[in-house]
């Protein structure tokens, strides 16, 4: 059943969000610490086990892959509901702080990629529509 996949995804998200809130509470900050990342790790662990044992049938998997494929449209909707006006009106100091933070962080990517040996090869080329 498709809903099994969706429910598994939902369960991972709720559990991850709970753990993230708990960590935030424990270290005394009002933020969810890594909830999404924890949910992702949970999903990877549970789904790969369930797949291997054959309990997560392809039809149930499609409940997860649908949401994975709908990701780009969701991001487009997210872009369309950003507070772009406030960002633009922030003035020179805000623009400079934001831009410089991005530029310097970008410059660090090749540097840090060397940690743990040569960087892995690029992903193979694919072309086609999103979500396929």
């Amino acid at each position: 059943m498709v809903i099994y996949g969706v429910a598994l995804l939902a369960g991972c998200m709720l559990t991850g969000a709970f753990i993230g809130e708990l960590i935030g509470e424990l270290i005394g900050i009002d933020a969810n610490v890594g909830g999404v990342g924890i949910s992702m790790l949970l999903l990877i662990a549970i789904a790969s086990k369930a797949q291997a044992s054959g309990r997560l049938r392809p039809i149930s998997q499609s409940g997860i892959t649908f949401w994975s494929a709908i990701y780009i449209p969701v991001v487009v909707a997210m872009a369309a509901s950003q507070n772009v006006v406030a960002a633009v009106r922030g003035g020179t100091a805000a623009v400079l702080a934001g831009v410089l933070a991005v530029v310097v962080s970008c410059a660090l990517v090749p540097l840090l990629s060397r940690i743990g040996g040569e960087p892995p090869p690029p992903l193979p080329d694919i072309s086609g529509e999103p979500g396929e």
Binding site: L9, A10, D30, A31, V33, G34, G35, V36, M40, L41, I44, A47, S48, Q61, T65, F66, W67, S68, Y71, I72, P73, V74, V75, V76, A77, M78, A79, A80, S81, Q82, N83, V84, A86, A87, R89, G90, T92, A93, A94, A97, G98, L100, A101, V102, S105, C106, A107, L108, V109, L112, S113, I115, G116, P119, P120, L123, S127, E129, P130, G131
Partner: protein, 257 residues
């Protein structure tokens, strides 16, 4: 005639989320047409779609005076739900299905290093920019530094150490600029920084930290990289909110005397 428009508008607002699916679907389709016809696929369709989204958000903000882009227009309110953090995070988590766990484990160490490097570097840059614009007190410098981390870290830090509201607003604006720049700029910078494999995506997510920016930017570059970048980026705001008002504030205060 106006009655027909009223009726259409009423249907669109009543079925907000469904309207969002249709509108976003059309936008994505148009973007992929533009991508193949105008740029022969050089500029990714999703990159164009995200830029159209940001442009629409700007116009929506100017038109309504609100802070949620097109979602402040009643007929497009569903776009705010579709692109809100609940569905966004739900979809991000789903992308983890089928990631390469070996690659994830191997990139783990560099991911952690990049998180700390990203937080400290962003705070330092934001604080330096604040200083050069005349905000020479440690509270303002740390708050604006937090904004250079993410637009959530800025206000959390500012509230914790007692920054003034205009400084907090400035820090939010800095974070928004960063997020939008990452969203729209990642596909252009990617070839120059080797952003084409899971490990560099994890590092990129850890250094940038803005979940919305990284989520959008990697989607526009190569959507297979999304889970790796999102995985580290999601820890960044928590780390920044933890270090900002504590270690980093104390350090900046010590330097500034």
């Amino acid at each position: 005639m106006t009655e027909i428009f009223d009726l259409v508008a009423r249907v669109m607002s009543r079925y907000g989320l469904v309207t969002a699916f249709a509108v976003v679907g059309i936008t994505v389709w148009v973007s992929y047409q533009l991508s193949t016809r105008l740029t022969r696929g050089h500029l990714h369709g999703s990159a164009i779609a995200i830029m159209i989204g940001l442009l629409a958000a700007y116009l929506g903000g100017v038109f309504t005076g609100g802070g949620r882009g097109v979602a402040d227009l009643e007929i497009f309110a569903g776009i705010g739900l579709m692109g809100g953090s609940m569905l966004r995070d739900f979809a991000i988590i789903a992308t983890a299905f089928g990631v390469n766990t070996r690659e994830l484990a191997r990139a783990g160490a560099s991911g952690v290093v990049s998180l700390f490097a990203g937080v400290f570097v962003s705070f330092a840059i934001g604080a330096a920019v604040a200083y050069s614009f005349g905000y020479t007190d440690a509270v303002s410098m740390t708050t604006i530094g937090g904004g250079a981390a993410t637009y959530i870290v800025g206000p959390i830090t500012g509230a914790a150490i007692g920054a003034s509201s205009d400084v907090i607003a400035l820090s939010i604006a800095a974070g928004l600029i960063k997020s939008m720049l990452v969203m729209a700029g990642t596909p252009f910078i990617a070839p120059f920084i080797g952003l084409n494999n899971p490990r560099s995506a994890m590092i990129y997510g850890g250094l940038m930290g803005t979940t919305s920016g990284v989520a959008g930017g990697l989607a526009a570059t190569d959507e297979r990289l999304v889970p790796y970048g999102a995985m580290t980026a999601t820890f960044y705001t928590g780390l920044g909110a933890l270090l900002g008002p504590s270690v980093i504030f104390v350090t900046i205060r010590a330097i500034m005397g």
